[in-house]
């Protein structure tokens, strides 16, 4: 959160308001529009399973058009992705730990970083060219089918309004389809477990349909979703990998070095650990876009 707070300050929010927000999201320092954005981000992150059309409608009430709604949902989904990668792999903080011990020095360092960002980075929107949406969707649909992953989630069609976001999402999706280093059945199991936890019913049902077609039973996966012992129904690596992605989904900040060491003991390389985290994080992001936009 510290890294992003520095950027929020650099983008123009007063340090006092940023601090108040990080202490309490219901702070009266925010405008009604800002409070609505925070409420949406909190709900979609903490409990995507309870997000309904009414939540997205509330966002429509404070944003001028549907394209902005898509952009807002994409930021929340994007940081659900990035934060899970950061926590699951224990990425070091951008603010050095020696400066975090005292509130005053931390405040000074963060203000200095914000100033440097303002000086060196562009903090306004710019036009970015993107490929024509029909072509992106057609190519992605082909790639998904060729990989035997069923149908594209519905939200992809909604991204037509923001072709640059569609292109970015498609690039991530294509990379994961092309080269995860895991068997198709493992990727589908991961998708089923995470989509079930997030109650993205469309994605969970699609994965369930494909797994059942491969004669793979869902019972041990449902046990993991429910947090129950699986009674040896899965090979050890698959068992530990699925519990790891469950933890990355529910509380990535509580994942441990021991979990990753355990995956290594089963023979996973750094690249495979990264791929597993990328798969889990991107599925969490997709589920949130589907809950908010589909």
């Amino acid at each position: 959160m510290q890294a992003h707070s520095v950027f929020l300050q650099a983008a123009g929010m007063a340090a006092k308001t940023v601090h108040a927000l990080t202490e309490c999201p219901e702070t009266p320092e925010l405008t009604a529009r800002q409070a609505a954005l925070v409420t949406f981000a909190e709900k979609l992150t903490r409990s995507p399973q309870s997000v309904t059309a009414a939540d997205t409608d509330a966002l429509r009430g404070v944003l001028p058009d549907e394209g902005d709604v898509i952009e807002a949902a994409n930021v929340v989904a994007g940081f659900n992705f990035a934060n899970r990668v950061a926590d699951a792999l224990d990425v070091p903080c951008e603010v050095p730990t020696q400066f975090q011990r005292h509130r005053f020095t931390k405040h000074l360092v963060m203000s200095a970083m914000s100033w440097a960002i303002r000086k060196r980075m562009r903090l306004t929107n710019r036009m970015i060219g993107a490929t024509e949406p029909d072509r992106v969707l057609r190519d992605l649909d082909d790639a998904v089918r060729r990989a035997g992953m069923g149908r594209l989630p519905s939200y992809f069609q909604r991204l037509r309004l923001r072709p640059h976001i569609l292109e970015g999402q498609a690039a991530i999706c294509s990379s994961l389809l092309r080269d995860t280093g895991f068997p198709r059945a493992t990727v589908l199991r991961i998708s089923y477990v995470i989509s079930s936890l997030n109650r993205d019913d469309e994605s969970a049902q699609e994965s369930a349909y494909l797994l059942t077609g491969m004669r793979i039973t869902l019972q041990p996966l449902d046990a993991i979703v429910a947090g129950q012992p699986t009674n040896g129904g899965l090979p050890a690596l698959l068992h530990d990998a699925l519990w790891f992605v469950r933890d990355v989904t529910l509380h990535a900040e509580q994942t441990t070095d021991a979990q990753v060491h355990g995956l290594r003991d089963h023979g996973l390389t750094d690249v495979q650990v990264l791929n597993l985290v990328l798969l889990a994080a991107s599925c969490n992001a997709r589920n949130r876009l589907n809950r908010a936009l589909a």
């Binding site: 959160m1 983008a11 929010m13 909190e42």
Partner: protein, 80 residues
């Protein structure tokens, strides 16, 4: 301490160095979140470019996007 190997831009070579150079064209500094993908240079590019697609393109003001990012990170109790 990161849980997988993380190669800093100063120690990168070959395809990874090229990926970092691409990211530096639009970011003054390569953040650690990009560096953690260093064992897969394709993801160094994807993580960097997606940050641009998410934060710098479109019409939603940057302040709103940064606010959403902080609220999301707070809700997810992110340590980063």
């Amino acid at each position: 301490m990161p849980r997988i190997r993380m190669i800093a831009p100063s120690r990168a070579s070959g395809e990874l160095a090229a990926a970092y150079r691409e990211v530096r064209e639009y970011m003054p500094r390569v953040g650690k979140l990009v560096q953690i993908c260093s064992v897969r240079p394709e993801w160094v590019r994807l993580t960097g470019s997606n940050m641009i697609f998410t934060m710098e393109a479109g019409t939603l003001p940057r302040l709103d996007k940064e606010l959403l990012a902080v609220a999301t990170s707070r809700a997810g109790r992110c340590r980063y």
